[in-house]
Amino acid sequence: MTIHQTGLGPTAYPRMHPLVLRLMHWTNAVAMIVMILSGWKIYNDDVLFGILHFPDDIVLGIWAQHALQWHFLGMWVLGINGLAYLAYGLASGRFRRLLLPLSPRQVLQQVIDALRFRLQHADLVNYNAVQKTLYIGIILVGILQVISGVAIWKPVQFSWLIALFSNFQDARLVHFIGMSLIVLFLLVHVTLALLVPKTLIAMLTGGPRIGASSSHTDGALAVARPAPDHSP
């Protein structure tokens, strides 16, 4: 059945980004920024790489203890909100719908397209292979950050977590690498959202309403539009 044949009005269809999803997205965004900026200040206290010291102007925390205070506040927001986001994504089917299937050949082709500025971006409601890769990636790295962070926080109580990373210093290194990957993701994600502003607006106001369409044989979603003649 097409959207038109169901007889349901367009407002019965959910938005691409439901309100609860948008709230969690922006909460995650703020929490991640707090974690990164305070994390940089914590890093400064005992640098892993001699050439890298984050400038005081951009870190969160005047002294080390402030950075730790922010980090230990942000961890609750990120942890609880992050868990809620994962639970929602899995339970509602959103992850399955948007992030799968993912084919390595498609990824390769579309990365090349992207680098040539030819990646299609007209379709707001179906993710391309580059998006799927990045979003699956950020979820996995986010989980890794929480695990490595908890290991650093409690290296004796959770010594078995430290063992996953060999030792305390290597857990710090993993945590640093995870941060670097998240920062890289943010640079790409924010840049692309600004280059295609309707995606940013969609994450603020919800985007188009969506429903399944029989005209797409691969199960892709279509934007719900009102039937041309709706009156009985």
Binding site: D46, H53, V59, L60, W63, Q65, L68, V156, F168, Q169
Partner: protein, 263 residues
Amino acid sequence: MSVRRPFTSRFRPRDVPDRSILTEHRAVIRDISRRRLLTGVLSLGGLSMLTGCNVSDRSSVQRVLRSVSGFNDAVQGWLFDPDKLAPTYAASQVVKPPRFNAYYDVEDVNPVDIGSWKLELAGLIKDKRPWTLQQIYALPEQEEIIKHICVEGWDYIGQWSGPRLKDFLTLVGADLHAKYVEFHGNDDYMESIDMASALHPQTILATKYAGEPIGDPYGFPLRLRTAVKLGYKNPKWIRAIVVTNTYNVGFWEKQGFNWFAGL
């Protein structure tokens, strides 16, 4: 296996000013940072309102941050398993000499005059007679090769020996159901730990490092060494131990570091 040479950032100045300037003028220095906020706002837009300049120090923000820190102390206490032992290491991994650290430089260490030193006891303790170093040496020793982890992020493996704190507290009739055990240093340093951590099997009153009496820069004649706390909860140059149910603010807690500080 994981002894790392500490990195010094190229950006860190070689010659640093006398630390006492910092302590005396902390308020002024913070004020100067606050003024940098005005120029900082121009550089990073809205985000810079959150940056190093002053938000962290505003009293309303500090109130929130400190109360979350207090909540985290409770969570840490709940997470603490009194039977969980910290990993131990091989004698070949022990760093000699140990790494120096204090809130001042090694040149400013004021060695304890052992001729007049006694370990004083106070608070909820039945036998408050002071102890000489020889009396402490006579107690059964436990040796441990454990990792010292600093809140800054560096660590090293060291070897300490001395009587278990639990045995010592039992010997002097301390109230083992009291909340806090305080350690007062010879240098105006005070830190307290929770009783559960004080009674942990890997918490000792260390008199020796790598088999020799602890050196002057590293806490002679006595330091606390516990495997379940960050470095700053292991006071050096101890001159008094107090068992109490009253929370007294420690040296680093005054500045906003968390009290529980458990590993």
